[in-house]
């Protein structure tokens, strides 16, 4: 009863492309869960499986203790979804779309909350369909989702196209949802947003989950950046395990250290005498970049060879060969 979303070993192929390659995702009830990954890594595909729009080739997916494919309608009444690219009907005004989506979900909307959200998002509900800009179309879908009574919100890159002020409004709304005990799955590649909003994070690449946990846990698994001014040049640094990117100029040291090896480094530094010390946990940005630095510039799917070097069993190139 405590998990809202439980996905394991999800595989989905489109022709020769392996969009999901054994993806795992677990979201607890009442948490805001960040779903991070570069373009084309499989975030939207996962969400479409969860919504029962497409069927996975293999693996298990549970959503609110139901089967997303079989119990589709019953589950959909309990969730609200904001697509990453909102298209509206040309003849329908924004206000009509908001009401329609609420009625189609069938569990009612709060008129006061609707009016309040329209005001907060500064959205004119009388404009029609495609006369809205991209950001305003996004707002129509967001208002429809936030004024619903859904237990679970599935938001697929919801802030693409929103200006910074509106992003702030959006963050406020998500925080309120969390206070009300609702579950939010927030797919994004805007790291500051995820860092500010999410309790737990899953990072995926090439259709696989590569990291999952709270931000603190993820930081623990990675490196801390250390800058120190020492009394004398340190000795024995070469023998220390878990040390990276060492820049030593006389008594000035800058390095990265695996967080669970921090003790050893500090001992070596105090031996030399510490004048000043700055240690900073990695930002999500650094976590993210570290996960992807092996695959520079291009999306993982586009660079199967590079991915293969890092994790042969996860390489889409190899998978495609198996599939063909």
């Amino acid at each position: 009863m405590t998990t809202a979303i439980d996905v394991s070993g999800l595989v989905k192929t489109f022709g020769r492309t392996r969009a999901l390659d054994g993806l795992d995702l677990s979201v607890a009830r009442g948490e805001v869960h960040g779903f991070l990954g570069p373009n084309g890594s499989g975030k939207s595909t996962t969400i479409r499986v969860l919504l029962g729009l497409i069927r996975a080739d293999s693996g298990a997916a549970r959503l609110l203790d139901g089967d997303p494919w079989r119990d589709l309608v019953a589950l959909h009444r309990r969730l609200a979804y904001v697509p990453g690219d909102v298209t509206l009907w040309r003849g329908l005004s924004g206000g009509e779309v908001i009401d329609l989506l609420g009625r189609l979900r069938g569990n009612g909307q709060h008129p006061e909350r609707r009016a309040e959200l329209l005001e907060r998002f500064e959205l004119d509900p009388t404009k029609k369909g495609q006369t809205y800009s991209k950001g305003n179309r996004q707002k129509v879908a967001l208002v429809a989702a936030f004024c619903s009574d859904a237990e679970l919100l599935i938001l697929d890159e919801p802030t693409s196209g929103l200006d910074p002020l509106m992003e702030e409004v959006f963050r406020g709304c998500v925080a309120e949802e969390r206070e009300r005990g609702r579950t939010v799955l927030l797919s994004s590649h805007i790291l500051s947003e995820v860092e500010a909003l999410c309790d737990r994070v899953s990072i995926i690449r090439a259709g696989r989950t590569v990291e999952t946990g709270t931000l603190a846990e993820l930081r623990h698994l990675t490196r801390t950046s250390v800058t120190a001014e020492l009394a004398a040049p340190p000795t024995g640094l070469d023998a220390l395990p878990g040390l990276h990117d060492v820049e030593l100029e006389g008594t000035h040291l800058h390095c990265q250290v695996d967080t669970d090896r921090l003790d050893g480094l500090l001992r070596a530094l105090t031996t030399a005498g510490v004048r000043s010390l700055t240690s900073r946990p990695p930002t999500l940005e650094e976590l993210f970049l570290r996960r992807y630095e092996a695959v520079p510039q291009v999306a993982p799917e586009a660079a199967p060879e590079a991915a293969a070097e890092e994790a042969p069993e996860a390489a889409p190139g190899a998978a495609a060969e198996r599939a063909s």
Binding site: L53, H76, R77, W89, G91, L100, R103, L104, T126, K127
Partner: protein, 532 residues
């Protein structure tokens, strides 16, 4: 206006459309060539052609459909009489679709913004769309002229026939160039273009049906009328070809002027704001489908009311038929398949209405695929709506909407026939039955579309080709002496020919069963497949 990049865009447009264009060109050239060959066989002698001319010219309804036969001197003249109007209409339709597709539809999708940001002149997309239409027109006109020349027809007549077809294409490309500036959507621009085409056909038909005794001048209000009056192999009125091209050119100039005055993405017709909240009727998928489909349905219903009234109203002309040619009577017999000539004509008219209703049924069904590919289906299906409920709400329109269209068409045809022939109540009843009995055949087209949509979604648009082939066989097959086995493949062959024919319920049941099976297979496929 700056046209930089237009030639690149034109090549790109022709490349994108290469398959669609090839199909259209094949149909437009093949039908002219096929008609010419067939006429050569059916009316080999001067006297047989004169008999045909006499019987057509003395019959208002046939004059309305095809125009008057003006020259019996050659097979070429007969071919030009029969195919210039129809060919001009179809080529005009192709040109409207092409121009809108490469201008307003691209702009609506946002793709033109990407292109417009490049080193591309403001007028270049319009020029490319026009270029594609002119290229297609030149090919259709040119190849058809060559075909007729190769069949040994007069040089001047063959050339002016091709040129008149070309002129029709250019003229309606101009219509589309203006329409694309007025509206905000490709669909609405196509609607304006289609309405102008329909009006041009109606004016030409009414003028020809009225003949010298009535308002024959109506013909001169229609570009299709001008094309008809070019009279290849007889008058060879090049000045009318020049008039068609000049009319096209003037509209193109207007289109360019308008394009230079508006913003990218906007139309010149104003957009009104909508209501801030939804009316109680906008509820559930049925309410949504009604909102999305009602405008199209009402437009078609208006067309059916006018078309039905016209078809019924000219039925008195049929009475004057002089069946002096065994061949003509044979054709009429084959098309109507029954004894009374008026009955036969009206039964054919009801069949014609049903073919048009099939176009509506396919269009209304394809809306499902449009909703899916545009991404608008996704948020709907992510609410408490099942796939079958969603699809079913739209399928009400091919199922019942096409019935409503046949009802309207049959009703106004009956009233028109009643005014023309007397016994309004009797004719109205007969023609309502005659129209509605076609409904199961119309359903087969919609059901075939559903089957494609559910089982092979990426091929859904092929429904148009299925429809085109079936209609082509149904419309021209009987006149061209096609084999019965070929006609048997089309659903409309099996529908009772009413009024006049005998009513059998079995074929209607079969057609309904086939429709149900096709639609059922499609819906079963839809339940299993991926969306999007």
């Amino acid at each position: 206006m700056n046209l930089a990049g237009a030639s690149t865009l034109l090549r790109f447009a022709l490349r994108r459309d290469r398959i669609m264009l090839a199909c259209w060109l094949y149909a437009l050239i093949g039908s002219v060539a096929g008609t010419a060959v067939s006429f050569g066989k059916l009316y080999p002698s001067q006297s047989s052609r004169e008999q045909l001319a006499q019987s057509i010219n003395s019959n208002g309804s046939l004059r309305a459909l095809y125009g008057s036969v003006y020259d019996t001197g050659s097979t070429g003249a007969l071919t030009a009489w029969r195919m210039l109007g129809l060919g001009g209409l179809l080529l005009g339709l192709l040109c409207v679709l092409l121009v809108v597709r490469h201008t307003r539809a691209e702009e609506e999708s946002g793709r033109l913004e990407l292109i417009g940001a490049g080193a591309v002149g403001r007028g270049a997309p319009l020029a490319a769309g026009i270029g594609a239409a002119v290229t297609a027109s030149a090919l259709v006109g040119g190849v058809n002229a060559v075909v007729l020349l190769a069949m040994g027809q007069q040089v001047a007549g063959s050339l002016v026939f091709g040129a008149a077809l070309f002129g029709c294409g250019v003229c309606f490309a101009g219509v589309a160039a203006v329409a694309a500036q007025l509206t905000g959507t490709g669909r609405a621009a196509n609607g304006i273009g289609g309405a102008v085409l329909g009006l041009a056909f109606l004016l030409r038909a009414c003028g020809d049906a009225a003949g010298s005794t009535g308002p024959g001048w109506l013909v001169w209000l229609s570009p299709l009328g001008w094309a008809e009056r070019v009279r290849p192999y007889d008058d060879n009125a090049w000045w009318l070809v020049a008039l068609l091209i000049a009319a096209g050119g003037a509209q193109l100039a207007l289109g360019y002027a308008l394009a230079g005055r508006r913003d990218l993405g906007s139309g010149l017709l104003p957009q009104r704001p909508g209501p801030p909240s939804a009316a109680p009727s906008l509820r559930g998928t049925v309410g949504l489908a009604w909102r999305l489909q009602r405008g199209t349905l009402l437009g078609w219903a208006f067309g059916f009311a006018v078309g039905g009234a016209m078809l019924g109203g000219i039925s008195q002309g049929v009475k004057q038929l002089i069946s002096s040619s065994a061949n003509v009577e044979q054709i009429v017999q084959r098309m109507g398949g029954s004894t009374g000539v008026v009955d036969s004509y009206l039964a054919t008219s009801m069949n014609l209405l049903a073919m048009v209703a099939a176009v509506y049924a396919v269009q209304a069904t394809l809306r499902l695929r449009g909703e899916e590919t545009s991404g608008r289906a996704e948020p709907v299906l992510a609410t408490g709506v099942g796939r079958l409920g969603w699809a079913g709400s739209h399928l009400l329109y091919p199922l019942l909407g096409s019935g409503a269209l046949l009802l309207v068409g049959g009703l106004t045809a009956g009233l028109g026939a009643g005014v023309a022939l007397g016994d309004t109540a009797g004719w109205t009843g007969k023609l309502l039955v005659g129209a509605l009995v076609q409904l199961p055949a119309v359903w087969v087209f919609a059901a075939a579309t559903v089957a494609l949509f559910g089982l092979r979604p990426q091929w859904t648009a092929a429904a148009w080709s299925v429809l085109g082939v079936w209609l082509f066989i149904g419309y021209l097959g009987p006149a061209l002496n096609a084999g019965q086995w070929l006609l048997d493949l089309t659903p409309f062959t099996h529908v009772p020919k009413l009024p006049g024919g005998s009513f059998h319920v079995a074929p209607l049941l079969w057609l309904t069963l086939i429709s149900a099976a096709l639609a059922g297979a499609g819906l079963a496929g839809l339940r299993r497949r991926d969306i999007g």
